[in-house]
Amino acid sequence: MSGKNKHHIDYGTYILVWLALLAFTTITVTVAGISLGRYTLFTALLIAAVKSALVINIFMHIRFDEPIFKAFLGISGMTLLIIFLLTFLDFIYR
């Protein structure tokens, strides 16, 4: 049942992804030392987003799983986004 239509990821890929994650960590720590003003938060979150994309796609192998999982991920991500946007409608315009 399992393993038939399953895409096995080899060790090398995992290690590459790990190296990439470490590299991004170095970048984000370095960049945090430079004053980018209002873009500091933006860059930090962007790098975090890239890192989480790597983890979700490869480590959590959602890329190779059933497509419906990606739809589910989209639903929960979108919900979170909506909650943030609507809540900030209050706090930004107060």
Binding site: I75, T79, L86, T87, L89, D90, I92, Y93, R94
Partner: protein, 549 residues
Amino acid sequence: MADTVAGLPVQHAEKSFYQQSTNKYSGILSWLLTTDHKRIGIMYLAAIGFFFFVGAVIGLLMRLELIAPGRQIMDAQTYNSFFTLHGVIMIFLFIIPGLPAIFGNFFLPIQIGARDVAFPRLNLLSWYIYMIGAALVLVSLFLPGGPIDTGWTFYIPYSVRSTTNVSMAIFAAFVLGFSSILTGINFVTTTHRLRAPGMSFFKMPLFVWATYATAWIQIIATPVIGITILLVIIERLFGVGIFDPALGGDPILFQHMFWIYSHPAVYIMILPAMGVVSEIIPTFARRTIFGYKAIAMSSLAIAFVGYLVWAHHMFTSGMSDTARWIFSLLTFIVALPSGVKIFNWVATMYKGSIDPQPPFLWVMNFIFLFSIGGLTGLVLGSLATNIHLHDTYFVVAHFHYVMFGGTGTIFFAAMHYWFPKMFGKMYNIKLARIAVLLFFVGFNLLYFPKFIMGYMGMPRRYYDYLPQFEALQEISTVGSWIVVGTLFFILGYLIHALLKGKKATSNPWGGVTLEWHIASPPSMENFAEIPTVTREPYDFSQLKEMKNE
């Protein structure tokens, strides 16, 4: 489908699920350790039904206190605890789990042609978690400190400062949320993974669609109340400041967090009810449902739009004007998918051959009461009128029309519709018809005066009132006697039916969804052989063949 289901009547000779066990035990342990979705559904029915009556009796006592101005039977602090408990019990222990956990558990797998839910043991665990949550609520009443008095909304800062047992009571709500989440996960996975061959998404009965949409809300919304409750408990224990205005915490942020869950929770309550309506109307109109896809999609639409409107509970809280008008606008959008459903139901009945059996009468009751509830919701959703009516009896009347008149009524409809299938016994139809009428009269006597009192300015949650409200308060109290009397009347004839009722046939109403193809009560496996589905869900041309089976 007729071919493959034709073999099923053989099951009449088989044992029902009451006579079989999923484990090595018999007697009480065969229930307490069961993994069968039908038995778990019945266990939920027993527990939830019990708490419903507890909640109703608390409501009755509150109404009795309000029969005249001044102190009648309890002091003000007891009254505060009573309205809190009435809210907590009715919302977290009855109406949120009610339809999905009882009827969803029992009928969702059967209606999609499955033998059980995807995670049977998790299902049993959900029941135990529910019972633990319920026990925590009860224990919190008797510990020193006294019963919680914050109202079911637990607003800060009072919930942080109240000396009553707030932490334990809201922790109970946290635990109950866990149960709700696990049920949701189970139902979504079941719907995706266990549909019978041929049962495509657009061949699923509408109750399944509604329960599926509900399950998504349970999964996505409940964690937010979970963290909110945890933060309140942490605030009470450690004083971290997140929800303490003295340390910089923002009370309006709490209200956002609370309603981000609790508004979608309103749809957890009402969506399965709408699903039941979509089952009952075609069966008793002998017509296929009008606008099947529109109803199915409107369930998802309601689940989605339900996320966008939470702050309409907070129009007078002091949030920004921009947020207020945007949330007011979004609120009106919810009326659209709800309207789609109401019009499609009415269109289904048009030119149908209507058979006014008790379940159908309950649905008529629902459409009337829910329409009043829904339309007064629009009054509350517009900013200008909301300022006047906020925190008055008008709000109390509105949500009782929606929750009790809507979901509560459908709870009885579902009970009357599926009772013969669940227990294999038929109740007294004539008594059941009288019950609908009594309920209708009592309900309107109980809650309609509250619209008027709210409009006149009577605030909610008050222990005492001005003499000018006395007449209306009395009418309302008399209504509460009729409603609670009717509840016991219904309980009486259903128990009588259970013990001495006539045996029910496998299809007493002439329904065509899968549960009517199998024995009443079903066997442990539901289906001797998993059916292959070829027909539309409400294709009544198969009724004749079913009778010949």
